[in-house]
């Protein structure tokens, strides 16, 4: 595709369940970021992948959050034992190089009941 895609677009889950969010970056982009955005708030950095380097996980809020990027392309963000405070929009972005412009996906709106 031409842009960054994310799935699902909406996810409603019950507290305590695990969820997986998927991001398909633009082909050839080496950098991939995950952000979390609560309503009316800024972008909270979660994790960053750059090529084959070890990911920067410094933004993950707890050990319930993890992410992987397979083959330098698709990325999955996993949240285990979801809590209500995990409810937010999760945005993925990719860029050609580390410092170049980021292209954002449409986001996944997660609601934890």
């Amino acid at each position: 595709g031409a842009g960054v895609s994310q799935s699902p677009s909406n996810k409603v889950t019950e507290k305590g369940k695990d969820v997986e969010l998927r991001c398909d970056p633009i082909s050839g982009h080496t950098a991939l970021y995950w952000y979390r955005q609560s309503l009316g708030q800024g972008l909270e950095f979660l994790i960053y992948f750059q090529g084959n380097s070890a990911p920067d996980k410094s933004g993950l809020p707890s050990d319930r959050f993890s992410a992987e990027r397979t083959g330098g392309s698709v990325s999955t963000l996993t949240i285990q034992r979801t809590q209500q405070e995990d409810s937010a929009v999760y945005l993925c972005a990719s860029s050609l190089l580390t410092y170049s412009e980021q292209f954002f996906g449409p986001g996944t709106r997660l609601t934890v009941l």
Binding site: Y33, G42, L43, S58, S100, F103, G107
Partner: protein
């Protein structure tokens, strides 16, 4: 770690008034990027500045990168309702000790009233 703050956090203006948002980084930046996020949308890249003191214009929008490469501003002349949204600056630090990823500012939410 690197921190990027923006002021103001919110701004309400009447259509036709000017608007400015300021971006300040705790570390020197290798470049500064600006993004716009419309309500309900995702951030969209507007522009990148690289050189110290650089000024770029896009129609009614004027972007500046500070001489010390630690601050930037976005000025909108004669705002329109289409300017509504949140404006974010973002920049990577020049020193690897500050991390090597792009860090987003806290954002300025602009509302334009008729």
């Amino acid at each position: 770690g690197q921190q990027v703050m923006q002021i103001p956090q919110y701004q309400h203006v009447q259509e036709g008034e000017d608007f400015t948002t300021y971006c300040n980084s705790s570390t020197t930046l290798s470049n500064i990027q600006w993004y716009k996020q419309r309500p309900g949308g995702h951030p969209v890249f507007l522009i990148q500045l690289v050189k110290s003191g650089e000024v770029k214009k896009q129609k009614r929008l004027t972007f500046q990168f500070g001489e010390a490469k630690k601050n930037s501003s976005l000025h909108i002349t004669a705002t329109q309702t289409t300017d509504v949204g949140t404006y974010f600056c973002a920049g990577p630090p020049t020193l690897t000790g500050g991390g090597n990823k792009l860090t987003f500012g806290t954002g300025t939410q602009l509302k334009v009233e008729l």
